[in-house]
Symmetry: C2
Subunit: 151 residues, 2 copies
């Protein structure tokens, strides 16, 4: 496996509109033109929005429910890495320490990002998955492509 | 708190249609006319459908992701209880053993049922939340009420 550049994410943005759905945009810094974008389902969008303080669901969301279970155990979450895209699907790993050793769990990026925001751990994204800022014309075409991508 | 009768669920049914949404129906036995019904979101419906072997998502769902983390720890899930309805919302508790003691975690019933099916642990429902079989006329009226109930 070749050495790949991981970018440490500083900004997580949410956008939602009827035509393109729920978008999660990750950037290293606010002023950067390069970004990582993924389209997510309603529950995953709500989970990330909750962690950003944008919504306040009355009942625990799925990831909150499990994090409360984990809080009874000795688990230290370390970081998440969104590292690849295969068959039009992004892949992430979540790293944590338990029972004295480090573990890695396969994850959808949306679950990983919600967890990372909750636990305030680093979000790392493979630079090859980043995109430069698009022109309005490119956005239209790009969104058509993105809508066919599953997460 | 008064002693309340808990029913042990033997059957979990899923129904989905455009007019009434995603329904999860719990019964003690297949032939029983009394049942517990709840309306759930798409993700929660998918999680339960996955556990029933009805769908096979390519990527881990949120609860599967967390259960894989929990599998690295010493947790024994014991049972779930759907025990009350307040402010038009059903409430459940999940019971588990970790570090030598028993813990209880507040949960939405949909998360609890998906977990229970995954771990093959008892699903218990307070009998006061059960309903008898409805006539077709009652179903129409009842579904209107249910649609306003949040889970």
């Amino acid at each position: 496996m070749t050495e790949e550049k991981l970018v440490s994410i500083g900004e997580v943005y949410l956008k939602s509109d009827r035509s393109s759905g729920n978008m999660v945009v990750l950037k290293e810094k606010e002023e950067d033109s390069h970004h990582f974008i993924m389209f997510v389902g309603d529950s995953e969008f709500a989970a990330i929005a909750k962690e950003k303080g944008m919504v306040e669901p009355k009942r625990p969301l799925t990831h909150e429910f499990y994090l409360r279970i984990v809080d009874n155990l000795s688990v230290e979450f370390l970081r998440i890495e969104i590292y690849d895209m295969k068959d039009n699907t992004y892949f992430a790993n979540v790293f944590f320490r338990a029972n004295g050793s480090e573990h890695t769990i396969d994850s959808r990026p949306s679950d990983a990002v919600a967890l990372a925001l909750n636990r305030k751990i680093p979000i790392l994204v493979n630079y090859k998955l980043f995109r430069r800022e698009l022109t309005p014309e490119e956005i239209k075409e790009y969104e058509e492509i993105c809508k066919t991508v599953k997460f």
